[in-house]
């Protein structure tokens, strides 16, 4: 018996012991495990995933054991080891919450066909026990872009970007398009921090933007540092990112984009419990509750608040798509014709700015 069979058998055996019996209609008890790229206390990305995990415990009680998680797992060989250990110790479903775990997730999934793997923000599904999931954050950006365009007095919006990947470029484009819709004179300055979470760098980036005259800061990085920096200067507002960042209400945090993973997690574990689980590639947004807009505070004038909420509701109802033509690319070439909405394929691989944004995407 070679190692591979041994491991798979061990996993199956342990899975049966810990994971409850697998009957045709579903499972009695599910062990759900989580792999986090950062600390639970980051108040942002990882914190929100952990909130999803806690929601599982609250919703399913005894039927789910969601107590196993590992934080600060580096991507690469270490991730593979952690995933293998989790699979060996009887996890039935493992959520890997960072893009960088893609290859590790697929490699381990191949060795443990009976364990389900859910990879956040990825696109590879080499075996049928791997599903991918993400959220349409650009829908949230459309709403806050509307607020930003209305609230800016200097007509300069700042965007603290992390890495030049499609998700971030979508965010920049969506924010700009909607700010410009309500305020044709608006411009956007992008600072690339090359990190998802580094309060010192984010504070410096926010400071640099404010010194350049920016008075609304949108961030794609996860710490509260830009808000703390914005608080030092009167008249500068910002938005919470990933989590509500309520400590900075009512200003500078005038609203926020909240990642809410609970609906998705409940759905998937519930599917395991009732036997309806299948492989998916999920990309939901405001309508499924995965992207939430945090409370718009009174620092925002009532008509702007109403406008933003209208955008949010229209997206949630499916009547409005943030990327609806006519939209041209930055170089002037046509992208979307009048009334045409962007296909998911274009969005997933987005590597261009829309017309009106000055500057280049770092290559």
């Amino acid at each position: 018996m070679n190692r591979r069979t041994l491991m798979a058998t061990a996993a199956l055996g342990l899975g049966l012991v810990f994971g409850g019996s697998v009957n045709a209609a579903g499972m009695d008890k599910v062990k759900a495990c989580f792999v986090y790229v950062g600390p639970v206390g980051d108040g942002g990305w990882t914190y929100q995933h952990d909130q999803g995990r806690l929601a599982l415990i609250e919703a399913f009680g005894d039927k789910v054991d969601a107590s196993t998680f590992q934080e600060n797992v580096p991507e690469g060989a270490d991730a593979e080891r952690v995933l293998t250990q989790m699979a060996l110790s009887g996890c039935n479903i493992i959520f890997t919450t960072s893009f960088g775990y893609m290859d590790a997730t697929n490699a381990v999934a191949a060795k443990f066909p009976d364990v389900k793997f859910e990879h956040a923000t990825g696109y590879k599904r080499d075996t049928d026990n791997v599903s991918t999931y993400g959220a349409r954050f650009y829908e949230g950006r459309a709403v806050i872009g509307t607020i930003a365009g209305r609230m800016t007095k200097s007509n300069k919006i700042g965007y603290i970007a992390s890495f030049p990947i499609p998700e971030v470029i979508r965010g920049i484009n969506s924010t700009f398009l909607h700010a410009k819709k309500v305020n044709p004179d608006v411009t956007i300055s992008v600072v690339w921090a090359y990190t998802w979470f580094d309060p010192a760098k984010e504070a410096d980036a926010a400071k640099a933007l404010i010194e350049q005259g920016v008075d609304v800061i949108v961030q794609h990085t996860d710490s509260t540092a830009p808000l703390a920096e914005a608080a030092k200067t009167a008249g500068v507002v910002g938005f919470g990112q990933a989590s509500d960042m309520a400590a900075y209400k009512p200003s500078p945090r005038v609203s926020s984009i909240i990642d809410n993973w609970a609906p998705y997690y409940l759905k998937r574990v519930g599917a395991l419990l009732d036997g309806s689980y299948t492989q998916v590639d999920s990309w939901e947004g405001i309508s499924a509750g995965e992207v939430e807009i945090g409370e718009i505070t009174d620092a925002v004038p009532a008509e702007v608040k109403a406008e933003a909420e209208a955008v949010r509701d229209a997206i949630g109802a499916g009547t409005y798509h943030p990327f609806t033509g006519p939209i041209n690319k930055q170089d002037g070439s046509a992208w979307l014709a009048d009334g045409v909405t962007a296909p998911d394929g274009d969005l997933l691989g987005m590597n261009f700015y829309v017309e009106g944004i000055v500057g280049d995407i770092p290559q």
Binding site: P39, G41, D42, G43, Y47, G158, S189, V190, V191, W192, Y194, F197, D198, P199, A200, K201, A203, D204, A205, K207, A208, L209, E211, Q212, V214, S223, T224, A225, A228, A247, V358, G359, D360, P362
Partner: protein
């Protein structure tokens, strides 16, 4: 009056703030190295200062106590280094590196419950109408107390080293510890005190990061600032006022590259973010060669353990 969209007064004011942590750590390390000890654990001490300061400030509600707590915490860690190298004769380079590693781990542990918390804020020193003077007001009169204190500490160190007896003894210990011992000076005790001072300064610098500059606690908040401080000491040829220049230079470049980005300059971001380190190397090379031979100004007994042969 803007150059390429960047206001110089605002830039200078920014860089003064950005340079405070490395300035404090560097001046502390300068004193330590003048006494003949090479402490590579500055990064570890800074981050200990950051978390101890943060915890103290949050628990007591006072930023001043926070800074004191930061200095004490870092000095405590420096004490471990002092005992290991001065009493137990351990290798200074290795012990310094161990200090950094341990400091990073311990601070992260201590900070587990403090991520994302807002500390009590340090206000600006109220200079009143002086702060409204067009260019100079922004540069000189709109900062928080630590900026002024850090410059005062540099002045104090310079004065003590140059004019006082204590400074002379310290320098003697650093140049030739055997001779100093023969003259009756307590080499070990002086070095331990210098190490503690260096630790306290690094702690203040770290506390500044977590209490004022960011202000927040995160793992690894110092992000290599301790190593930059070490480089600044060499750049400064172990002269206190040059530490000020070096810290401003380095702080200035870091601030400039972000401002250039924000102003929309078309310089590739990656090269900008590399520039502080490349320029530091360049400066080190210039200082070590040519007329300003840095090796000539280094304390002669730097890095060598002192053991009194009876």
């Amino acid at each position: 009056m803007d150059f390429g969209g960047i206001n110089p007064a605002v830039l200078v004011a920014s860089l003064m703030v950005a340079s405070v942590p490395i300035m404090l750590a560097a001046i502390g390390e300068l004193v330590v190295e003048k006494a003949g000890v090479l402490n590579l654990g500055v990064e570890g001490m800074m981050i200990m200062g950051a978390i101890c300061g943060f915890i103290t400030a949050v628990q007591t509600g006072s930023p001043v106590l926070g800074f004191v707590g930061g200095a004490l915490g870092a000095a405590a860690l420096a004490l471990v280094f002092a005992v290991l190298t001065q009493v137990l004769q351990a290798n200074q380079v290795a012990t310094g590196l161990a200090l950094t590693l341990f400091g990073l781990g311990l601070s992260s542990l201590m900070g587990q419950g403090y991520v994302g918390i807002k500390p009590p804020l340090t206000g600006q020193v109220p200079f009143g109408p002086l702060a409204d003077i067009p260019v100079l007001g922004r540069i000189f009169f709109s900062h928080d107390p630590m900026v002024y204190l850090s410059i005062a500490i540099i002045a104090a160190v310079w004065a003590v080293l140059k004019f006082s007896r204590m400074g002379l003894i310290l320098r003697a210990v650093g140049e030739n510890h055997d001779a100093a011992h023969a003259l009756g000076y307590k080499v070990t005790r002086i070095r331990i005190l210098a190490i503690l001072f260096g630790g306290a300064m690094a702690g203040l610098g770290g506390a500044y990061l977590s209490l004022v500059r960011v202000p927040q606690w995160t793992d690894g908040i110092t992000a290599g600032a301790g190593w930059i401080a070490l480089a600044i000491v060499v750049f400064a040829s172990w002269k206190p006022w040059r530490v000020l220049v070096g810290a401003y230079l380095f702080g200035g470049i870091s601030v400039l590259q972000l401002n250039l980005q924000a102003a929309g300059a078309r310089i590739p971001v990656e090269y900008l973010s590399m520039s502080p380190y490349l320029i530091t190397i360049l400066v080190l090379v210039i200082m070590s060669s040519g007329k300003g031979r840095a090796s000539m100004s280094a304390p002669a007994a730097l890095g060598q353990n002192f053991h009194a042969a009876r």
